[in-house]
Amino acid sequence: MSLVGMSIIVEGSPAQERTARNRWARLTRPALGFVLPVTLAVTWEFVVRMGWASGRLAPPPSVIFATFVDLARTGDLQRNTLVTLGRVAAGFGLGAGVATIVGAAAGYSPLVRRLLDPSLQALRAIPSIAWVPLFILWLGIFEASKVTLIAVGVFFPVYLGLMGAIQSVDRKLVEVGRAFRLSDVAMVRRILLPAVLPAYVISLRSGLGLGWMFVVAAELMGASEGLGYLLIDGQQLGKPAEIVTAIVAFAIVGKATDWLIALVATPFLRWEDVVRQD
């Protein structure tokens, strides 16, 4: 009896200690990543406040924050963010949509793959920004050329990701489907789709990342609204705080859209979670 009781106590306490330490670690570990940026920001603020530097070209955090609030109060920030977001959404929808169809066809059918893939690989070798003059010639300087450029950027990672994923579906699992006499449609729905989904979501996320990169390029090359316009405006009027504000807005919205994809995909990918322990 007492032996049992003792062993429980003896085993219990280090375990409790460990959970406590784990909880502490869970709280502090993300905080660790903030140490460097926060230190830098505080230091810079201090340096400018003390008058050791003017902070005219590199505004201190307080000025950036004030600009951010200003732009938000006038509604400029929201309006420009929405415009940019709309362009990314349109370009992403177009690029990812076409890439999904073409990638699925090329992954599924060797004939389509042999027909299309060499040309697409050749096009991929072109740095996409190089298309800009041509797109402007063809589509004008307004929305169409911007959206097309973003779509081109999104297309390749999604196309390659999906095609590769379909080709690398475990043939042994496909054979299970065959042994249970699945129809072609059922095979796609019950085996191929779930097998491909993790890689597809990853490719969508990297496509979206490129979409954000290309929207900056498109807007830098001429726009009258959008976050990229804020960048140019800040540069031309010598307002670095406006530039940094736009950059921060890019980062926030970009991260938020990426998180949105991850969030939508989570319930379908729960099976994939690795039980992670570090």
Partner: protein, 263 residues
């Protein structure tokens, strides 16, 4: 009844993997297929399953020619091949896609209980041990109530203890449901514990070398003298089947159809 008539298989790359295998298997019989590596055992099984149709001869089950996977034939592979995105219960019910939900749930629960994994219905396949995963695969193959169950080295990836355990499980299932079992194995003990008949195959092209009946009462005692005797007989046959291969003779002329030696 399952009837194989001079079943031959040549792969597209020219490998002559099966050269005229003829065989009759009664409903409920347990047949073990044994033989050296590369002698066409897996090919034979896949041909019977309809996954890889034969290039010569025919496989006929109850008068129906098998040229594609058939609902009366189930197959269990060397690996469990569970679908990682389905919970264990959904994996077991995979072959019942067209049945009403309540019937499916009922049959899945019964099958899981039969393989002793009723408590694992709601877990993901990656949370199972190798032996548990293979039991789930067995349940999945049994749920559509196949008449013939094909097993290709189903336990070879497991440790000896788990393997003996699963052999017992398989025998229990067979006692309940009485499907025909055709089992490829490298393990002579396994073949003798399970089978009514042991087919020893020899290679290039694969064919039946010897068909040995195992006439021991069940459950079979691995320690008994009769078991030992049967084992020595099978091992001797295996030895002979391997010696018959002239070294380097890849393209030895095809053996006559049904060259099985009975004893």
């Amino acid at each position: 009844m399952l009837v194989l008539e001079r079943v031959g298989k040549t792969y597209p790359n020219g490998v002559h993997a099966l050269g005229g295998v003829s065989l009759e298997v009664e409903l409920g019989e347990i047949v073990a297929v044994i033989g050296g590596s590369g002698c066409g055992k897996s090919t034979l099984l896949r041909t019977i399953s309809g996954l890889d149709p034969s290039s010569e001869g025919s496989v006929v089950l109850d008068g129906e020619r098998i040229i594609a996977p058939h609902e009366k034939i189930g197959i269990i592979f060397q690996e469990p091949r569970l679908l990682p995105w389905l919970k264990v219960a959904d994996n077991v019910g995979f072959g019942l896609g067209d049945r009403p939900k309540s019937e499916r749930a009922h049959r899945v629960a019964a099958a899981l209980k039969r393989v002793g994994l009723a408590d694992k219905a709601g877990v993901w396949p990656r949370e199972l041990s190798g032996g548990q995963a293979q039991r789930v695969a067995i349940a999945r193959a049994l749920v559509p109530r196949p008449e013939v169950l094909l097993l290709d080295e189903p336990f070879s990836a497991l440790d000896a203890f788990t393997r003996a355990d699963l052999q017992d499980h398989l025998l229990d299932l067979w006692t309940d449901l009485r499907p025909t079992l055709i089992l490829v194995t490298h393990d002579v003990d396994e073949a003798i514990v399970l089978a009514d008949r042991i087919m020893v195959m020899c290679p290039r092209p694969g064919r039946v070398f010897e068909d040995i009946g195992v006439d021991l009462p069940r459950p079979r005692d691995r320690q008994s003298a009769a078991f030992d005797f049967a084992k020595r007989r099978v091992l001797a046959a295996l030895d002979r089947s391997l010696q018959r291969v002239p070294s380097g003779a890849e393209d030895e002329p095809k053996a006559e159809a049904g060259a099985a030696l009975w004893w």
